[in-house]
Amino acid sequence: MKEFWFHIKMYGALLKMTMRSMLQYRADFWMSLVSVVLLNGANIIQLSVISWRFHSLGGWSVGELLVLYGMFMVAWSIFSIFFRKLSKIEEEIVNGVFDIYLLRPVSPFLQLVGGDINHIGLCDTFMGLALVAAGLAKTGVRWDMEHILWFVVFILSGGVIVVCIRFLISCLAFWITKAKALSSLFTQLYLLTQKYPVTIFGKVFRVLVTGIVPVAYLNFYPATYLMGKPDAPPWLCMLSPVVAFVMAGISALVWRQGMRRYDSCGG
């Protein structure tokens, strides 16, 4: 337990240090917000045009689609704000920075994630929340306290899940040195899940994004539960924290295994 608090304290110290250096170059927050809107604009327009023409997509109205899209963004932003470095393990290994972590008496994991905080990721959070709000306004669904609590649980679990997925993919760097190509394939998987209710892609796809790469827990299952859709049974949606817990466990195991196997690129 004492060790645990030590780690927490060290993470805080590292974050503080990083924040201080980030503030030196205060990148234009508003410009980044514009970028996020532009990057997602085409998808939002596409979804709006489709639901304007066809009234719905696979039984989901435009408001529900916006909630779906927005929740994905919010959960995803947890990764891009705090854990972005996890996808750069390969780089750190190749250029030898990772070896430095091993020399210091603090967990290499903490040094990796503590060395980076990306306030620009907040733009995703804001836009995601705005889309969820717009979607709710559009559908006229009102969330009570219980819904809001579940929303928070879903977002946090979704955050853990996306962090673990990205982490596990980049952990492949311990085994194969070129893991980058894989990530573009996954990008397509994320995109399809983010934009559309996964029910339209058939059973195989649904099993894939539920049980193997559980990205559907970022938005599809949460939105199904919160918007009261018949697409999935409630218990399957409420499994979200369990899935997050399992993913975290797997990640921890893999990390330890990888660390044991790691010998530096240079040596």
Binding site: A42, I50, R53, K178, A181, L185, F201, G202, F205
Partner: protein, 268 residues
């Protein structure tokens, strides 16, 4: 003219380095094609009248758009002129490009064509084949449409290149083109018929799109392939594409000439 194949070959060799990469990219393409296919299958089931054409024709349109997109946005991203220019300007290496005894626009075109041919052969051709065999993609009705499509796709490429080059020219004025690039690619995505077939837009927007070059990039070749236009309309479509390509390429050429003069003066 001999330099052109040399650039082409260099680009091919470069792209060939990552074989594993390409296998995964093929899977990526297939997944993307499967995605749009499922989307239109569902939408067609909801209301065939709004889709406005047969289901096979619609999914062929959508999947071919994905395939063309892979050629047009080559995997070696720095092959795209705007990215290449912005990178070279940022790092200050653009002078080595200027030292070569060849017009910058032609240099970049060769680079881009090289990457595109590579992804066309190794990525899109197999993806298209698998699409036809597994995903129910149609073939063009006859050889006339097939050839028409190929010619049209090449013109599309030239139009897109010219637009990208114009965007690259902006780099010389402002080093950072991040937001402009995003707005630009968003515009192409929305207005070219790639993501949303243009006939689904409201009337006023369709009119607007008719006067812009973007629809020539995706809609024209896709409509030829799926025989959504009659055989008589094909030459008309190709002519319009040629005009846009000539105008945009020419604009890029003139702009670059002016820019080059200024650069030389500044550099001493």
């Amino acid at each position: 003219m001999r330099t052109f194949p040399a650039f082409l070959k260099a680009q091919q060799r470069f792209a060939g380095l990552y074989r594993m990469d390409f296998l995964l990219k093929l899977l990526y393409g297939m997944l993307a094609m499967y995605g749009v296919r499922s989307l239109w299958v569902v939408l067609y089931a909801q209301d065939p009248a709004i889709v406005g054409r047969s289901l096979p024709s619609m999914i062929t349109y959508a999947m071919l758009a994905v395939a063309l997109d892979i050629i047009f946005y080559p995997s070696a991203l720095d092959a795209a002129p705007q990215n290449y220019i912005s990178e070279q300007v940022r790092t200050g290496r653009i002078d080595t490009d200027l030292l070569r005894p060849m017009d910058l626009q032609i240099q970049l075109l060769s680079r881009n064509v090289g990457a595109a041919i590579f992804s066309a052969l190794w990525l899109v051709l197999p993806a298209w084949l698998l699409g036809v065999l597994l995903l129910g993609m149609e073939l063009p009705p006859d050889i006339y449409y097939g050839v028409g499509f190929l010619v049209s796709a090449m013109l599309s490429f030239l139009i897109l290149f010219s637009l990208n080059f114009l965007l690259g020219m902006v780099c010389f004025a402002t080093v950072n083109i991040g937001q402009i690039t995003m707005a630009y690619s968003g515009m192409i995505t929305i207005l070219s018929g790639k993501l949303i077939p243009n006939w689904l837009y409201p009337e006023w927007m369709q009119t607007l799109i008719r006067f812009l070059p973007f629809r020539c990039i995706f809609e024209t070749p896709l409509n030829i392939y799926t025989a959504a236009v009659t055989g008589r309309q094909i030459p008309k479509g190709l002519l319009l594409q040629t005009i846009w390509a000539a105008v945009l390429f020419g604009m890029g050429h003139l702009l670059w000439k002016g820019m080059h003069r200024r650069l030389t003066v500044q550099g001493g």
